[in-house]
C-alpha cells in the first residue's frame, strides 16, 4: 500500500475525526515506518476489541482461540531461541576477540623485552 492509500483507508475508517487527523499527519510526517504501522494496527485493534466487547462476544475459552494463542507463543519461542543462540555466539565472539587482543598485546611486550636484552 502507498502512503495515499493508507491515508484513504484511515479517512474511510470509523476512527474519530480527531484520531483521523492525528494519523494522517503522522503518516505524512513520518512515512510508513514499522513503528507507525504497528501503532496504527494497535489503534484499529483497540476499536475492534471494544466493538466485540460491546456485542458480548468472547471466544477466549474456545479451542480455536487457544490453538491460535499457542501457535503465536510457539512461533515467538522459536524466534527467541534462535535470537538467544545468535546473541550467545556474538558474545562468545567478543570474548574470543578480547583474548586474542590481550595475547597480541602480551606478545608485543615480550618482544619489546627481548629487543631490549638483545
Amino acid at each position: 500500500m502507498t502512503r495515499e492509500e493508507v491515508i484513504k483507508l484511515v479517512q474511510d475508517s470509523d476512527l474519530s475525526a480527531a484520531g483521523k487527523n492525528t494519523w494522517i499527519s503522522r503518516i505524512r510526517e513520518e512515512g510508513l515506518t514499522q513503528s507507525l504501522v504497528d501503532d496504527l494496527k494497535g489503534v484499529f485493534q483497540v476499536d475492534i476489541d471494544a466493538g466485540f466487547d460491546k456485542l458480548g462476544i468472547d471466544i477466549s475459552d474456545t479451542p480455536e482461540y487457544k490453538a491460535a494463542e499457542s501457535a503465536m507463543v510457539k512461533d515467538v519461542e522459536v524466534a527467541k531461541a534462535d535470537y538467544d543462540q545468535k546473541i550467545a555466539a556474538l558474545t562468545s565472539q567478543v570474548k574470543q576477540a578480547e583474548a586474542d587482543a590481550l595475547k597480541a598485546v602480551d606478545d608485543i611486550k615480550i618482544q619489546a623485552v627481548k629487543d631490549s636484552i638483545a
Binding site: D12, S13, Q34, G51, M72, K80, L90, E98, Q111
Partner: protein, 301 residues
C-alpha cells in the same frame, strides 16, 4: 496469557541485547587500556601516543611524528655538540700556536741574554776571540729563529688541516641529519605498527557487534510482530464467525450496523498488516535491512 508471555520474551531479549552491549563496552575498555599501558611500557611517549595505539594508523601517525620530533632534537643536539667540539679544537690549535710562539720567544730572549752575557765575559777574558764568538752567536740566533718559524709554520699547517676536517665534518653532519630523520621515522613506525595491527584486528572483530545485535533484535521483533498479527487475524475471524452465528439466532439484530462496522475495521486491520514499511524490505525473516532506521525504533519500543 499468550500476549503477556510474548511481551515478556521480547523484554528479556532487549535485556540480553543491553547486556551484550555492556559486555562489549567493558571489553573495549579493557583492551584499550591494555594497549595503552603496553604502548607506554614499550615505547613511552604521551597520552596522545597511547590513544594512537588504540585508534590505529591516523593517531599512530601523530605519535610517529612526535617520536621523530623528539629524536630529531636529539640528533640536533649531537650535531651541535660536534660543532662545539670542533670550536674547542679551534681553541686548542690557537693555544698550541700561542704556546709554541711564546716558547720560541722565550728561547730567543734566553739566547739573547746568554749572548750578551757571553760577550761581556769574552770582552773581559779573551778580547781576541770576540769577533769569532759573535759570529757563532749570530748563527745560533739564526737557528733559534728558524726553529720558531718552523714551529709556527707547523702550527698553521695543523690549524688549516683541522679547519678542513671541521668543514667536512659539518657537511657530513648536515647530510646525515636528514638520513637519520627518515631512519628514525621508519624505526618509530615499525615499533608502532604492532599496536596498530592489534587495534585494527580487534576493531574488526568487535566493533560490528552492536550493529549485529541490533539487527538480531530487529529480526526477532519482526518475527514476533508477524506471529502476533497471525494470532490477531485468526481471533478476529473467529469473533466475526461468532457474530454471524449470534445474528442468525436473532440475539443481536439491533446491532447489525455495529457488526458491519466491525467487519470494516477488521478488514482495514488486515490491509494494514500487509503494508511493507518504506525503509524495510521484508518483515519476519533474515533479509531485514540492517541499515533500516526503523529497527532501532522498533527496538526502543
Amino acid at each position: 496469557m499468550g500476549k503477556e508471555r510474548v511481551d515478556k520474551m521480547l523484554a528479556t531479549a532487549r535485556d540480553a541485547k543491553n547486556a551484550a552491549m555492556t559486555k562489549t563496552g567493558n571489553v573495549l575498555g579493557r583492551v584499550g587500556g591494555a594497549l595503552r599501558d603496553a604502548f607506554f611500557a614499550t615505547i613511552g611517549g604521551s597520552e596522545k601516543g597511547g590513544k594512537a595505539a588504540v585508534s590505529g594508523a591516523v593517531e599512530g601517525g601523530k605519535a610517529v611524528t612526535q617520536y621523530a620530533r623528539e629524536t630529531k632534537a636529539e640528533v640536533g643536539q649531537i650535531v651541535t655538540s660536534g660543532i662545539e667540539k670542533g670550536n674547542k679544537l679551534d681553541d686548542d690549535v690557537a693555544a698550541f700556536l700561542q704556546t709554541n710562539a711564546t716558547a720560541g720567544v722565550d728561547k730567543l730572549n734566553g739566547f739573547a741574554d746568554w749572548v750578551l752575557s757571553a760577550e761581556k765575559e769574552l770582552k773581559e777574558k779573551a778580547p781576541g776571540v770576540h769577533a769569532d764568538i759573535l759570529a757563532r752567536a749570530e748563527k745560533g740566533a739564526q737557528d733559534v729563529g728558524n726553529e720558531i718559524t718552523a714551529a709556527v709554520t707547523e702550527g698553521i699547517k695543523q690549524f688549516n688541516a683541522f679547519k678542513e676536517w671541521a668543514g667536512a665534518a659539518r657537511k657530513e653532519f648536515a647530510q646525515k641529519r636528514s638520513d637519520v630523520h627518515q631512519d628514525v621515522l621508519d624505526r618509530a613506525a615499525d615499533r608502532i605498527q604492532p599496536f596498530a595491527n592489534v587495534a585494527d584486528q580487534f576493531a574488526r572483530n568487535v566493533l560490528n557487534l552492536p550493529r549485529d545485535v541490533n539487527t538480531e533484535l530487529g529480526i526477532l521483533t519482526a518475527k514476533a510482530g508477524a506471529a502476533k498479527d497471525r494470532f490477531t487475524k485468526s481471533v478476529n475471524e473467529a469473533r466475526m464467525k461468532a457474530t454471524g452465528t449470534a445474528e442468525l439466532k436473532g440475539e443481536v439484530l439491533a446491532l447489525r450496523a455495529e457488526v458491519a462496522k466491525l467487519a470494516g475495521m477488521v478488514k482495514a486491520y488486515e490491509r494494514i498488516s500487509t503494508i511493507v514499511p518504506e525503509s524495510q524490505k521484508v518483515i519476519g525473516d533474515e533479509t531485514v535491512d540492517a541499515e533500516a532506521e526503523t529497527i532501532p525504533k522498533t527496538v526502543a519500543k
